[in-house]
Amino acid sequence: MKILVCISHVPDTTSKINFTEGDTKFDTNGVQFVINPNDEFGLTRAMWFKEKQGASVHVINVGGPETEPTLRKALAIGADEAIRVNTVASDGYYVAKQIANVVKEGGYDLVIGGRESIDYNGGMVPGMVAKLIKANFVNMCIGLDIDGNNATASREIDGGKENINTSLPLVVGGQKGIVQESDLRIPNMRGIMQARSKPLHLKEPIETNSETQISSFTKPEAKGAVKLVDNVDELISLLHNEAKVI
């Protein structure tokens, strides 16, 4: 089985969100970038398929050279090879087209992405890839097993979960649950050393269009100060009369 894991390179969850160039660009100054958390859960499940079922695992990022340390981290966690499509990730559709092209050329059976990337919260790339390559698709995936050509997956739904039967080729949008938090791996020294000599292929992008374009960013208005109350009667009265939520 050939697995491709999509890795989105995102600001660490504690990052301060600021913009530059007249509020048109995300300000990367002092920001630490990491593997998108949803992708890290998926990558860890891919390592399980590698170790238990002999799968080969490649990782991909569509982005500039600045994303390479993130791809190297994925190699240090255990992926065999990395691919970087050398371009600016202008929107979700554009990224999906690039990944779909790599999937077709590489003959991957399973593509694992994340439910959403924590920066632009698009939640669209894996589903678009699935549709573009005519593969099956499971989103918000919290469990995945592959047996030959058959796949069983679970999906988080409002208030519970759904167990799904499907088949390869398959694309999933993963999240916590596809493996548990405690299964995540911190790269060790040996992994980091090995990652240095693993292949990181550069690919030029295919020609394709974007469908959306961000023109500017704003920050939400600062909210007023908290009203501290010292008894529950006052709280109930405020929630009823002022906030009108009960």
Partner: protein, 322 residues
Amino acid sequence: MSVLVYTESEEGKFKKIALEAVSYAKGIADSLSTSVTAITINGEESNELGNYGASKVLQVSNDKLQNFNAQGFADVIAQAAKQENAQVVIISSSANSKYLAPLLAVNLEAGFVPNVVDLPLSTSPFKVTSSVFSNKALAETEITTNIKLIGLAKNAYGLKENETSLTAEDFSPNLADEDFNTTVASVEKASDKVTIADAEVVVSGGRGLKGPENWGMIEELADVLGAATACSKPVSDLGWRPHSEHVGQTGKPVSSNLYIAIGISGAIQHLAGVNSSKVKVVINNDPEAPFFKAAEYGIVGDAFEVVPQLIEKLKEFKSNNA
């Protein structure tokens, strides 16, 4: 030309987010001088959609579409959009809509913007405002394709009544075999519980509650308010509560009217997922807890004293206001 809106239902009944999506669709249709067509798969009593501005409803009833299936549902909505010559397609931000959205976008060659919080800034060029960076920023985005797909953020626009005369038509989509390559084998769901996604009020507990044995009062408070229960990430990692209750940046998003956080410190990753709730109430014994800065109301106090009092007084309040 028209604006098409996908209206979700559960057991035949339209969800509040569906009515909100119709209200929003009406707002857009007005600025484009056109009308709103709604599509429902298995929804009953579609008259209700006329109260919020739909002038036509396409009703799909098909045994094969009894259960949600992203590929099949996306295919049906795409066919409706083509028939209606829809220029804008509106969906909600429910888990199901988020699942089918990318499939629908590719099918229609429509540029897709999720988490949209308001009516378009302009319709030519077509520009919308959406929430990004887990509610820490807003982006203005231009959609450059002919058809535009908009995912409306929950509770951002609200319900707007708009009495419109409504005609209903049956719609029979052409379903393909590929629409059923992914099938649901079973569902595990606590059916009697209000879900975090649907709830108007969410009561959430953190590590400050010390252990799973203390969740009785959280559940009771939720009961009194008709609320869903939720928790912080460590609480679900410790196994005190199920993972499905974990809210925040890496858990479920919450956009309820009221979010009550009890014994939760207010770490940035927690706030990222709950900030779009309208009113946040914090109960914490540490006045320095960061959550107070992000909240509308707060009580500095011991949860084990405050929560039982709150339950008792709310019961009184509810019986007086019933």
